[in-house]
């Protein structure tokens, strides 16, 4: 419980870029491999740059 | 003349924005006469006619046409204080709008800019306008001309509806009708009872000027 509050406090001090890194950690449909999650994240951002 | 109007017309036609703007800015600070202001506005129009011709021959493309609208708008905003101050007599009145079902307005805005440069008072009712909005404005301001813009093929129905509504309201014969935009053709205008096909903005303005001078 305390740890969660601490995490939430930290998150409010983050940049959007850092927030995005946090978000990628929660993609449970992907294996916990950085390259895979980062790749997915990049494709997502690029796709929704235009669409 | 404290300005070379031929040079200005050429710069506008060549889409040389910075040089044209510099000329306009240098001109306004010299306290020109009403006649000189009118000559400068005519030069801008002449330049836009050149743009229209070059678009027709394929030298300029739609991107250039759109840019020319921005260039003209910038010069007109420099000249505007002079035009107000000199109370340049109005050429005529136009009610202008994009018909129902269509949100496109770039072409309409280019036409408006050029019409204002030519001395018209333009009542721009905006885009996606139902026929009733055209009728209402026509009743209110009693214009010389009604201009309808449409970019989507689907919006041709909106043009037909507007013409019919003006007829039903008994105001159709008190105005001249002109229409422009991608799907509009001379054949369509003939079939729909529109007085003139707008073509590109420069041609449309020419037609409008001919009407009000009669």
């Amino acid at each position: 419980m305390e740890k969660n509050i601490e995490e939430e406090k930290n998150i409010e001090e983050m940049t959007i870029a850092e927030v995005f890194e946090e978000a990628k950690k929660e993609l449970n449909f992907l294996p916990p491999i950085d390259d895979v999650r980062n790749g997915f994240g990049e494709v997502f951002l690029t796709t929704f740059t235009v669409f | 003349m404290m300005i070379n109007v031929e040079q200005l017309a050429k710069l506008v036609g060549d889409l040389e924005e910075e040089q044209a703007v510099q000329m306009a800015e240098a001109f306004v600070v010299q306290n020109p006469s009403k006649e000189e202001v009118e000559a400068v506005v005519a030069a801008c129009q002449g330049g836009m006619e050149t743009v229209g011709v070059r678009f027709g021959t394929g030298e300029y493309f739609i991107g250039d046409l759109i840019y020319s609208g921005e260039l003209l708008a910038r010069i007109m905003s420099i000249l505007k204080p002079l035009m107000v101050a000199n109370n340049t007599s109005k050429t005529g009145t136009i009610v202008l709008g994009t018909v129902k079902g269509d949100l496109h307005d770039i072409g309409k805005n280019i036409f408006r800019g050029m019409a204002e440069a030519a001395g018209f008072v333009v009542h721009d009712i905006g885009f996606d306008q139902p026929a009733s909005a055209f009728v209402e404005k026509v009743r209110e301001v009693k214009p010389d001309i009604v201009g309808m813009s449409a970019l989507l093929t689907l919006a041709l129905d909106g043009v037909r509806d507007t013409v019919k509504a003006l007829k039903d309201a008994g105001v159709r014969d008190s105005v001249k009708l002109i229409a422009g935009g991608n799907p509009i053709t001379p054949e369509f205008c003939k079939q729909t009872g529109i007085d003139a096909y707008g073509g590109n903005a420069a041609n449309g303005i020419k037609t409008c000027l001919a009407w009000v001078k009669k």
């Binding site: 990049e42 951002l45 | 269509d102």
Partner: protein, 391 residues
């Protein structure tokens, strides 16, 4: 034939048409339908675009009921669920009554922010562009994180829908078109600076625009080309064509401006695709006859070009020995003509354009509205090509 074998047969039709080395077994047919199958159905646009089950029903039905070999749009064009979650609003205005869609521009880069963008494009994208574009990133950072997570989950759901559809239509021998790749000009006009803004920037501050694109390129190339087309394993079912490259605003530019601001990127991606053995479909809106001199510089056998307002026979005459041509039947005819008239025109098109190969039949323009064609005509023309398009 297994579903994979059927898929491979269809892929070979497209590869042969695009490769320009031999005639394919028969003339392939690409669909140019976007929202048309939805607006002719019993459903409303806005209800289908948010429902993958309904989307699947519509697009599977479309593949089944007509004779296209490939679907170009199949729901990716309007990813409403993802947009809703991210708060991407106002891109399109749907009118269910009229069945119309209108596109609205947004500016997420102000003209006085070019220097900031050029100095650190990644930072600008993350800290300014995305919060402006994805309005649900506003509020607390926790909210922003949840928005990103929800958005990516929805993106994955879209991917699942596409995979499911690809497998299902493959059993019918139908393939989906591949991933999109845009020109920086088209990216810029859509959400960075708008059409007017971009056109004026290219005149007033062209060096800044080009510097911005140069700095943006590594990020874009990696996500839009390298990852999907170079580093990812090939999908279980192949697409009909690998890379869909739309020329939306680019066709509005004069040949000089196109040559300066757009062509270098297209040439580069065409060269990459040649190395990687991928095919490109250039989807040209409007009339692009003034750009043929550039298309003739494409590496041979890598691209097919879909023409909308061009005289397609002229395009074939000028480009036909160099690149594969896509197009054909006018929407006016599909909507107002009789079945016989449509078939007659289709016969003429196939007779004129197919000999020698390098031709893909398609509807001439994007089918979005009910008035873009009558179902019986679309069925008749695609069936004609399926039955009579054998070489």
């Amino acid at each position: 034939m297994s579903e994979y074998q059927k898929a491979l047969y269809t892929r070979t039709l497209f590869d042969d048409a695009i490769g320009m080395k031999k005639e394919p077994d028969r003339v392939p047919v690409m669909s140019n339908a976007f929202t048309w199958p939805i607006v002719i159905s019993k459903y409303k646009l806005s209800e289908v675009l948010r429902d993958y089950d309904k989307l699947f029903e519509i697009w599977y039905g479309f593949a089944r009921d007509y004779y296209h070999d490939s679907l170009f749009d199949f729901g990716w064009r309007n990813p409403m669920r993802i947009r809703d979650v991210l708060g991407i609003s106002g891109d399109y205005v749907f009118n269910d009554e009229e069945g119309t869609i209108n596109h609205i521009e947004k500016h997420c880069l102000e003209v006085d922010e070019y220097d900031e963008f050029i100095a650190d494009p990644r930072r600008f994208m993350m800290e300014k562009f995305f919060p402006r574009r994805m309005t649900n990133l506003a509020g607390s950072r926790l909210n922003a994180k949840n928005t990103f997570v929800a958005g990516m989950n929805e993106f994955a759901a879209l991917g699942q829908y596409i995979g499911k559809l690809a497998g299902a239509v493959a059993e019918l021998g139908v393939l989906l078109a591949g991933g999109g790749y845009l020109t920086y000009f088209d990216i810029w006009i859509h959400n960075f600076r708008g059409l007017k803004g971009t056109l004026t920037d290219l005149r007033r501050i062209p060096d800044k625009v080009q510097a911005a694109w140069e700095k943006y390129a590594p990020m874009y190339e990696f996500a839009a080309y390298d990852l999907p087309f170079r580093y990812s394993p090939p999908p279980p079912i192949p697409p009909s064509i690998d890379i869909a490259l739309p020329l939306i605003g680019s066709g509005l530019l004069s040949r000089v401006q196109f040559g300066r601001f757009v062509w270098p990127q297209i040439k580069q991606v065409a060269d990459k695709a040649t190395v990687d053995g991928k095919t490109i479909m250039i989807f040209a809106e409007g009339n692009v006859e003034h750009l043929y001199e550039y298309f003739l510089q494409l590496p041979k056998g890598v691209a097919c070009i879909q023409f909308e307002k061009d005289d397609i026979r002229k395009a074939k005459a000028i480009l036909g020995k160099h690149c594969c041509i896509i197009g054909g039947i006018s929407l006016e005819l599909l909507n107002s003509g009789t079945k016989e008239q449509c078939i007659e025109e289709t016969k003429r098109l196939v007779d004129d354009l197919a000999p020698g190969g390098g031709y893909i039949f398609s509807e001439a323009a994007m089918m979005a509205f009910k008035t873009d064609g009558r179902p019986e005509n679309v069925r008749a023309v695609t069936e004609y090509v399926r039955m009579n398009g054998k070489y």
